[in-house]
C-alpha cells in the first residue's frame, strides 16, 4: 500500500503531512500511558516484526500481492497510540533507507497505514472483546476481524486523499471498487497473520497483550488465592 510520489498532488500531500504530524503528536502523548519498562522493549520488537512481515508479500488473486500493514496488530499488542508510532517508525525507515513509499507521500502513508489502521483496528478489537465471552479464542477472533477490517479502511482512506488530490482523472466509481476488492483479499492475509501473532503472545504472556489485559486479571486472582492461608499460617 506504500504510496509513491506523484499519485497525490503537492497541496493535499502537505495536508496529509499535517494530519500525520497531528496523529503522531497525539500518539506521543498517549503512548506514555501505554509504555513502561516491560512494554517499551516489546513495542520496539513489534516495530521490528512489522518491518520484517512487510517484506513478505503474499500472493492474492491475479498477479497481485499484498503484505501486512501491521497497525491493527501493533495496536492490539502494545496499545493504539504506541501502535501508531510503531508503524510510523517502520514507514519512516522504509521511505528514508529503502526507497519504499515516496518522501512527499510520507504524510499520506503514515495517515493511511499507521493512524487509520491502528485506530480502526483497535476500535473494532475492543468492541468485539467487549461483546464476546471473555476468553483467549474470543480475543484471537476479535484480532482476526479487526485486522481484516483495517485493510479496506486503509484503502478507503487512500481513496479519500485521491478524491481531493489525485494527479489523474480516473473516476472514483472505478477506483473505489477496485481498491476495495483487492484490499479485502489482502485483509484476509492481514487477519491471518495478526490472529496468529496475537494468539501466540496470548499463549505465553497474556499480560503483555495490551488490548486483552482484562483477560489476564482473573488468572492473577486464582494464582494469588492459595498463598493467603500460607501467609496467615506463617
Amino acid at each position: 500500500m506504500h504510496v509513491p510520489d506523484g499519485f497525490i498532488d503537492a497541496p493535499v500531500s502537505a495536508v496529509a503531512g499535517v494530519i500525520a504530524a497531528a496523529g503522531i503528536a497525539v500518539s506521543l502523548r498517549g503512548s506514555r500511558r501505554e509504555l513502561d519498562d516491560l512494554t517499551a522493549p516489546l513495542a520496539g520488537l513489534t516495530a521490528a516484526f512489522v518491518f520484517a512481515a512487510q517484506m513478505l508479500n503474499f500472493p492474492v488473486a491475479g498477479g497481485t500481492s499484498g503484505h501486512l500493514l501491521g497497525g491493527a496488530l501493533a495496536a492490539i499488542l502494545v496499545g493504539p497510540f504506541t501502535g501508531v508510532l510503531v508503524v510510523s517508525v517502520v514507514l519512516a525507515v522504509q521511505a528514508l533507507i529503502f526507497a519504499d513509499g515516496g518522501l512527499t507521500a510520507l504524510g499520506v502513508n503514515i495517515t493511511i497505514m499507521a493512524v487509520v489502521t491502528a485506530a480502526v483496528g483497535y476500535g473494532v478489537f475492543r468492541l468485539l472483546v467487549r461483546v464476546l465471552p471473555r476468553s483467549r479464542p474470543s480475543a484471537t477472533a476479535a484480532a482476526f476481524v479487526a485486522a481484516l477490517v483495517s485493510v479496506p479502511a486503509s484503502a478507503l482512506s487512500f481513496v479519500a486523499f485521491y478524491a481531493v488530490g489525485g494527479t489523474t482523472d480516473v473516476p472514483l466509481s472505478t477506483v473505489v471498487p477496485a481498491m476495495l476488492g483487492v484490499h479485502v483479499l489482502i485483509g484476509l492475509g492481514e487477519a491471518l497473520i495478526t490472529a496468529l501473532t496475537v494468539s501466540s503472545v496470548l499463549a505465553v504472556r497474556p499480560d503483555l497483550v495490551h488490548g486483552a489485559r482484562g483477560l489476564s486479571e482473573p488468572l492473577r486472582l486464582v494464582v494469588n488465592e492459595p498463598r493467603r492461608p500460607e501467609e496467615a499460617a506463617s
Binding site: 500500500m1 506504500h2 509513491p4 510520489d5 506523484g6 499519485f7 506521543l28 503512548s31 506514555r32 500511558r33 509504555l35 513502561d36 512494554t39 517499551a40 522493549p41 516489546l42 513495542a43 520496539g44 520488537l45 516495530a47 521490528a48 516484526f49 512489522v50 518491518f51 520484517a52 517484506m55 513478505l56 508479500n57 503474499f58 500472493p59 492474492v60 498477479g63 497481485t64 500481492s65 499484498g66 503484505h67 504506541t82 510503531v86 517508525v89 517502520v90 525507515v93 533507507i97 529503502f98 526507497a99 519504499d100 515516496g102 518522501l103 485521491y162 489525485g166 494527479t167 489523474t168 480516473v170 477506483v175 477496485a178 481498491m179 484490499h183 503472545v201 505465553v204 504472556r205 503483555l208
Partner: protein
Amino acid sequence: MSLRRLLALGVLVAAVLAGIVSYYASSHPDGLERVAEDKGFNAEEKDHALGDSPLADYGVKGVADERASVGLSGIIGVGVVLVAGTGLFWMLRGRPDGGGEPAEPAGKTRA
C-alpha cells in the same frame, strides 16, 4: 516465559523472516500498485528521490547474489527499526505506576 526470552525469540523470528523468508516473497505488484496500473492513476508517478541509495528496494548495492542481497537488507532493516523503535519507546515510557506522568523529581521515592 520471561520477557527477556520472549524478546529474544521475537527478534530471532523477525530476523529469520526478513533475512531468509523474504527471498521467497511474491514479487507481484501489491494491491495499490496493481490497481493504479490497471486503472491508470499511476500516470504521474515519480521515481523515488532516494532510489539510488545503497539499500533501495530491499537490496544491498554491490551484493550480486540476490538471496544474500535481499536477506542482508532485511537484517539491516530489522536492526535499524529495532534500535530506533526501542530507543524511542524507552524514552517515552512512563513510570510503571505513574499513570503516564513523566518521572517525578527525586525525593518522592520511599525513604
